[in-house]
C-alpha cells in the first residue's frame, strides 16, 4: 500500500522491532512511516471504545499514531525518528500506571 520514495532507498538501514518482530527502516524516517511501510496500519486501539487507529496526519496533530517506544507509552510515532535497536509496541486501549 505504501512505497518508499526513491531517494530514501539509498539511506542507511535502521533496524527496530515492533511487538518483538524485527523490521527495517531507513535513517531519518519517522516511526510512523516505518510502521506503515512495514505493513502495520493499526498501531493502537482507543481507550474508550476500543476502535482501531493508525497514523493519519503524519505531522503531529491528530494523535492517532500513539505507540509505546522503548517502554514509554503514548508517544507520537510520526514525531519520533527511528533509531537502531528501538523497541516499538502497539497499544491496546489506555496506558497503564503502576500504583
Amino acid at each position: 500500500m505504501f512505497a518508499r520514495l526513491p531517494d530514501l532507498k539509498e539511506r542507511a538501514v535502521v533496524r527496530l522491532t515492533v511487538d518483538g518482530r524485527a523490521i527495517e527502516a531507513r535513517a531519518g524516517e519517522s516511526v510512523a512511516a516505518a510502521l506503515l511501510l512495514s505493513g502495520v496500519l493499526v498501531v493502537r486501539t482507543t481507550p474508550v471504545s476500543g476502535a482501531p487507529r493508525g497514523p493519519f496526519c503524519m505531522m503531529g496533530v491528530c494523535f492517532d499514531c500513539l505507540v509505546s517506544i522503548d517502554g514509554e507509552p503514548n508517544r507520537q510515532a510520526c514525531m519520533v525518528t527511528v533509531r537502531d535497536g528501538m523497541q516499538v509496541e502497539r497499544m491496546q486501549g489506555a496506558r497503564k500506571v503502576d500504583p
Binding site: P47, V48, N74, G93, A94, R95, K96, V97, D98, P99
Partner: protein, 372 residues
C-alpha cells in the same frame, strides 16, 4: 414570541437542572442562554458529587447537599432512560488526603465542628491513618499522613450531565434559546416580560440561574445576588487504565480514563486564565498523593470561575416584591443537580419555597440588620 409557563435565565447546569425538573412537571419552558461570552462555569468544573465537609455554618446546606447526593442515582437513571446519555455518576465514597499532621489535625477539628452543629444531618465520616487508607487507596505516596473518608461522596461526568439535561429538555419540548442575553425584566400584567436582542419573551414564572450574571439580574425583580467569581484551575491527563476507583477532592479518574487534578481556589476577579505557579503546585500535590502520576502526561489545563456568595452557601429565594420570580445560585452545580431537578423544581412549580427547608437560603441573610 409565545408565552411560557416558566422562563429560566441561564443554560448551565443550575438552570437546566431546574428546567428539567419543571419540564417533568409538565411546564412549558424557555431556557435563555447568554452565549459563549458567558463565563460557562458548567463547562469548566471538576465533577465531584461531594458531601463531606460541606455546611459548617449552615447545617441546612449539609442536609440539602446530602439529599441531592441521595437523589443523584435517580437523576442518572432518568436521564439515561430519556436520552441514552450516561452521566457516569458513581458513589463509591470519597477521600480527602492530608499530607501533614497539621492538615490532618485541622481536618479532624473542622469535621468535629461541622457535625456538632445543632440540627446537623447525621452521616458517616471516618478518619484513617496511612496504613488503613492504603487498603482502600493503593498507590498512596509516602507523604500521605492520613485521609478522611465519606461513603456518600461520588462523582459524575459534568459535560455529559450538561448534554443530557439539554437533550432531555429538547425531548420534552422545552425551548432553548442560545445567544439570548436578558437585558431587562419588567412586569406585563401578571407575566414577566424579558427583553432580549431576539425580542420580548413572556413567562408566568421566572428563574434566575445565570451564575455570575445573577448579580445584575436579581435587582430587576427586587432581590440581591451578592455573587463574585472565585477561580479554580484544573489539569487533565492523558487517559490511563483504571487505577483509582474513588474520587479525592484533589484527584479523580474519570469514567473515560483521564485523571483530573483540581481544587485550587483564588480570588482573581473575572480573570479565568491559567497561572503556572498554581498549576505546578497542584501537579506537585497530585504526584505526592499518587507517585505513579509522575510519568503521566498532562494534556490540558484550564481555569474557570466559581459562583461564590459571601458565605459560600447557595441562594434559593422567591421575590417578595415580584412573586413568581426565583433566584437560584450555587457553586456546586454538579453535586446539587439532582436536588435542583428533583427537590427544588416541584416547589417552584407549586409557587412556594417552604420556609422550613428554604428560609436559611434566602439572600436576606446578607442584609445588614438594624441596630436593636
Amino acid at each position: 414570541m409565545g408565552a411560557f409557563d416558566v422562563a429560566i435565565v441561564g443554560g448551565g447546569l443550575v438552570g437546566t437542572a431546574v428546567a428539567y425538573g419543571l419540564a417533568r412537571q409538565g411546564a412549558r419552558i424557555a431556557v435563555l442562554d447568554e452565549g459563549d461570552v458567558a463565563f460557562r462555569a458548567s463547562r469548566g468544573n471538576f465533577g465531584l458529587v461531594w458531601v463531606q465537609s460541606k455546611g459548617l455554618g449552615m447545617p441546612e446546606y449539609a442536609a440539602w447537599t446530602k439529599a441531592s447526593s441521595d437523589a443523584w442515582a435517580g437523576l442518572r437513571d432518568a436521564l439515561r432512560d430519556e436520552t441514552g446519555i450516561d452521566t457516569a455518576f458513581a458513589r463509591p465514597g470519597g477521600f480527602h488526603v492530608c499530607l501533614t499532621d497539621g492538615e490532618m489535625e485541622r481536618r479532624r477539628e473542622q469535621n468535629k465542628r461541622l457535625h456538632n452543629q445543632p440540627d446537623m444531618v447525621p452521616y458517616e465520616v471516618r478518619f484513617l491513618d496511612r496504613k488503613d487508607a492504603l487498603d482502600l487507596l493503593p498507590g498512596l505516596g509516602p507523604e500521605v499522613v492520613g485521609v478522611s473518608y465519606c461513603p456518600l461522596d461520588g462523582h459524575a461526568n459534568p459535560l455529559k450531565l450538561l448534554r443530557a439535561l439539554h437533550a432531555a429538555l429538547a425531548r420534552r419540548g422545552a425551548a432553548y434559546r442560545s445567544n439570548t442575553p436578558v437585558q431587562r425584566i419588567e412586569r406585563s400584567g401578571d407575566a414577566f416580560a424579558l427583553t432580549t436582542p431576539a425580542g420580548t419573551i413572556l413567562s408566568g414564572k421566572l428563574i434566575l440561574a445565570a451564575g455570575l450574571g445573577n448579580a445584575r439580574l436579581a435587582p430587576m425583580v427586587g432581590m440581591t445576588a451578592p455573587v463574585r467569581p472565585q477561580r479554580g484551575q484544573i489539569l487533565v491527563t492523558e487517559r490511563v487504565a483504571p487505577f483509582l476507583k474513588h474520587p479525592l477532592v484533589t484527584v479523580r479518574q474519570t469514567d473515560e480514563g483521564s485523571v483530573m487534578i483540581g481544587d485550587s481556589l483564588e480570588e482573581a476577579g473575572f480573570d479565568d486564565r491559567v497561572g503556572h505557579a498554581v498549576v505546578a503546585m497542584m501537579a506537585d500535590r497530585a504526584v505526592k498523593t499518587f507517585p505513579a502520576l509522575r510519568g503521566v502526561r498532562v494534556v490540558r489545563t484550564w481555569g474557570a470561575l466559581r459562583v461564590m456568595t459571601p458565605d459560600g452557601f447557595p441562594i434559593y429565594q422567591q421575590s417578595a416584591e415580584h412573586p413568581g420570580a426565583f433566584l437560584v445560585t450555587c457553586h456546586s452545580g454538579v453535586t446539587l443537580a439532582a436536588g435542583h431537578a428533583l427537590n427544588l423544581a416541584p416547589h417552584v412549580a407549586a409557587g412556594c419555597l417552604p420556609d422550613a427547608a428554604f428560609a436559611a437560603f434566602s439572600a436576606r441573610r446578607f442584609d445588614v440588620r438594624a441596630a436593636a
